[in-house]
């Protein structure tokens, strides 16, 4: 069953998912990238709510690490979470995408090995949403929930035109989200709303509670 009576627009994805990330404890800037990743997922024909909900729940529940521990070995970088916790994709995704973006500018091959991530599929979404200007990214997983991301800025990426077609489809028909995962996203979003009081209702905005001229 669809989570909303009509499909979500991309702007709604952006609005709700950004703040859902904030509601789960991430800073606003990470929320923005989270929303971009969700839109990228939708552009692949996937249900973004279904894929992001586990990451939101893990972060909000303190079951994933927002702190990234980094180790470097030549051109290979390893990321892991704090203690035994898996990395939060909301934090690891932008960090990985940023490293690839910097490597693209420097024209440098890069390998990033990520330890366990709470939602590995989301990492690919962050990389996709980053829209690297050149090169080829391959993502593999030898160990469940862990990832190896290899980036070659000099390899070419074939384009099949599907992205443009899917974008047009989304703009015409919106994004369907499953009820359960959407509820997770929306519940997280709601944490960004300030409860209303009679004082804020009367004084917090402009016009009066009745306007009859």
């Amino acid at each position: 069953m669809n989570g909303t009576k009509t499909p979500l627009s991309l702007n709604e994805i952006r609005f709700f998912f950004t703040r859902a990330a904030v509601g789960a404890g991430a800073p606003f800037g990470l929320g923005e990238d989270f929303a971009n990743a969700a839109i990228w997922l939708a552009g692949q024909g996937l249900d973004p709510a279904e894929l992001v909900a586990p990451a939101l729940s893990a972060l909000a529940g303190g079951n994933s690490s927002s702190r990234i521990v980094e180790h470097k070995n030549g051109d290979t970088v390893s990321f892991s979470g704090e203690g035994d916790k898996p990395l939060s994709a909301l934090y690891a995704g932008p960090a990985i995408a940023d490293r690839l973006g910097a490597a693209a500018v420097a024209g440098q091959k890069t390998t990033i090995i990520s330890g366990s991530v709470d939602q590995p599929a989301l990492i690919a979404a962050y990389i996709g949403a980053a829209k690297l200007e050149r090169g080829l990214v391959s993502v593999s997983s030898a160990v469940p929930a862990s990832l190896t991301v290899e980036y070659d800025p000099w390899a070419s990426t074939p384009s099949d035109g599907n992205e443009a077609k899917m974008s047009r489809h989304l703009l015409e028909y919106g994004v369907n989200v499953a009820a359960g995962p959407w509820e997770t996203v929306f519940d997280s979003f709601r944490k960004c709303l300030v409860p209303s009081s009679s004082q804020s209702r009367e004084q917090g905005a402009g016009a009066g509670l009745t306007d009859n001229d």
Binding site: R201, G204, A205, A207, T210, D213
Partner: protein, 570 residues
């Protein structure tokens, strides 16, 4: 004499962001010919749009469903309107309203009956309804009860309404929200951004308001006829043209200007470029001089008719009236010099209030459509700031020091400097302004504290190595991701920041709201408090069957029409 055209002009320096992006000046903005409503009307005229009322299924009280369609050269757009009775105690202009006198959707094309029925179930619910990508905009409005009833009863009795009552209010209905860009399932901006008629910002929303205006005139005529029968007359055309659509605009519009720095930059850059082009002109043609003198005269009368209850705004208007009188006098000889338009602007800057300066800047653009109208196409922004993860700490520090001096000088240790916080209420997501020290919720504030965040970022960067790249810095300091992205964008978008602290105890959201509304093209700002204002949209604009007429193309700064007495329609 040669007309001034874009391919044979120079350009003086643009007024800098530190001058034009201060709240005091933003809050003194006026409509210009680059305003979005003006662009729409010009386009409709240039492209010979045809406006048609397809459906008007309303009862004798004006309640029911209507469809008004605008046919452009390539596409049609239809306003689907639902009007209903509501009780006075239910009528509010706030976001938290649940019912309205009129609710509206802009449909992409011509709706089938099934579309109208689907929207009948949803449009009156507004935010509680759901919409499809076939809907480009969602809006609602409330009648000016006082004026609506007066007009109807006058027309029903065979006479025109009292002109003073008409001009005191200026509209039969005021919109209280006009949504677009993907809200509630409506079409995203990207769906229509590539259409030439939608290139300028908010064209769908501006079209909605224009068509609602038409509906309101039809409604008073219809209800009057139902009430008065053969005795009823139609509203005098000059009176109808004078009526715009009101709007109650609250502080909810303000965070938008912080959220979209690239878009705001493009608006201001276009306006300042237009001004710079005009100021560079070496001489004034006879046509331009005559037009300008006529315009100043009209502006003086317009200001004379602009009356509000708000005392600070009344004082500003009184000063403006004196300044326009001075401008008229100055123009007798002042335009007869090299670079006359630059001289006008300098005279205003040296002698007038901020409101007078901005009014003068708007006036000098008006005779120069051939030189500046092309800038209308540069005012949109279809992308968001993109993070540069390779930028170094040193590079970012340099940008902050160069572009954010206005922020770095602020002292956030003072309580009053962070007194306010902006937030979304759980109450229908209404944007509100709170007192950080007296109300809960500040930890959930919207990210509009640009000055404070830049200061914090700069302090953190002082401790880092010059060569560290943003990818590394932000992994260690993710809380700065939003502000870093924003700061990086300012280099190419210098007008994207409001050079003031939006958390300050003395902040006036009205200044931000007025700035945005001026770009929309509204007139007659009527502040009701520091948090909200009533305004008028399309007042004086040509009626639908007058769009093609040269006679009504000069509708900026509309004036009170001549009295029609108690005569019937003309």
């Amino acid at each position: 004499m040669q007309e001034h055209k874009p391919d044979n002009y120079d350009q003086l320096e643009l007024r800098p962001p530190e001058q034009v992006m201060k709240l005091e000046r933003m809050g003194s903005s006026f409509q210009t010919r680059l305003s979005f409503m003006c662009q729409l009307i010009r386009r409709m005229r240039r492209e010979n749009w045809r406006l048609e009322r397809l459906r008007f299924d309303v009862d004798d009280h004006g309640y029911g469903a209507s469809v008004y369609t605008a046919h452009g050269p390539k596409r049609s757009y239809s306003l689907i309107a639902f009007t209903e009775h509501i009780e006075p105690e239910q009528r509010t202009d706030r976001v938290i309203a649940e019912v309205w006198d009129g609710t509206f959707s802009l449909f992409d094309g011509i709706p089938a009956d099934a579309d109208v029925e689907r929207l009948r179930d949803n449009t009156p619910k507004q935010e509680a309804g759901r919409f499809l990508a076939s809907e480009l905009s969602l809006a609602r409005g409330n009648k000016s009860l006082r004026l609506f009833e007066h007009v109807v009863s006058s027309l029903a009795a065979g006479k025109q309404p009292e002109l003073d009552q008409l001009t005191q209010v200026g509209y039969l209905m005021r919109t209280t929200a006009v949504y677009g860009s993907g809200k509630f399932g409506c079409a995203d901006r990207q769906k229509i951004a590539g259409r030439s008629e939608m290139t300028a910002p908010f064209q769908a929303e501006m079209l909605v308001v224009y068509l609602i205006r038409w509906l309101t005139i039809d409604l008073v005529n219809h209800v009057a006829r139902a009430r008065g029968g053969d005795s009823a007359v139609e509203l005098n055309r000059d009176y109808a043209r004078y009526l715009g659509i009101g709007n109650s605009t609250g502080l909810g519009m303000a965070p938008f200007l912080v959220k979209y720095p690239m878009l705001i930059n493009n608006w201001v850059q276009a306006r300042e470029t237009a001004l710079a082009r005009v100021r560079a002109l070496g001489w004034a043609s006879t046509r331009e001089t005559e037009m300008f003198l006529g315009l100043v005269d009209k502006a003086e009368r317009f200001a004379g008719e602009w009356n509000v209850q708000d005392e600070p705004q009344t004082a500003r208007i009184n000063t403006l009236r004196d300044e326009l009188a001075d401008l008229k006098e100055w123009c007798r000889t002042g335009l007869d010099q090299t670079r006359p338009w630059d001289a006008v602007v300098r005279h205003a800057e040296d002698n007038y209030s901020v409101e007078g300066q901005e009014f003068t800047a708007a006036l000098v653009l008006e005779p120069h459509g051939g030189l500046v109208d092309d800038l209308g196409d540069t005012m949109s922004a279809e992308t968001a700031p993109k993070l540069d993860p390779a930028m170094t700490v040193a590079g970012l520090r340099k940008i902050i020091d160069e572009y954010y001096g206005w922020a770095l000088g602020m002292d956030f240790s003072e309580e009053t400097s962070q007194q306010r916080f902006w937030y979304y209420s759980e109450d229908k997501l209404e944007p509100r302004l709170g007192d950080r020290y007296a109300e809960p919720g500040a930890e959930l504030e919207m990210p509009v504290a640009v000055a404070r965040e830049v200061g914090l970022l700069r302090a953190c960067l002082a401790e880092r190595n010059d060569d560290e790249i943003m990818a590394s810095f932000l992994m260690a300091n993710p809380e700065f991701r939003h502000i870093v992205r924003r700061v990086q964008a300012v280099v190419d978008h210098p007008y994207g920041e409001i050079h003031d602290n939006l958390l300050d105890a003395g902040v006036r959201p009205l200044d931000i709201v007025r700035f945005k509304l001026a770009f929309f093209g509204v007139s007659k700002f009527d502040p009701k408090s520091d948090l909200w204002t009533r305004v008028n949209m399309y007042q004086g604009a040509p009626l639908p069957d007058e769009i093609m007429s040269e006679e009504f193309s000069d509708w900026i700064f509309p004036l009170k029409p001549a009295s029609a007495g108690s005569a019937g329609a003309s």
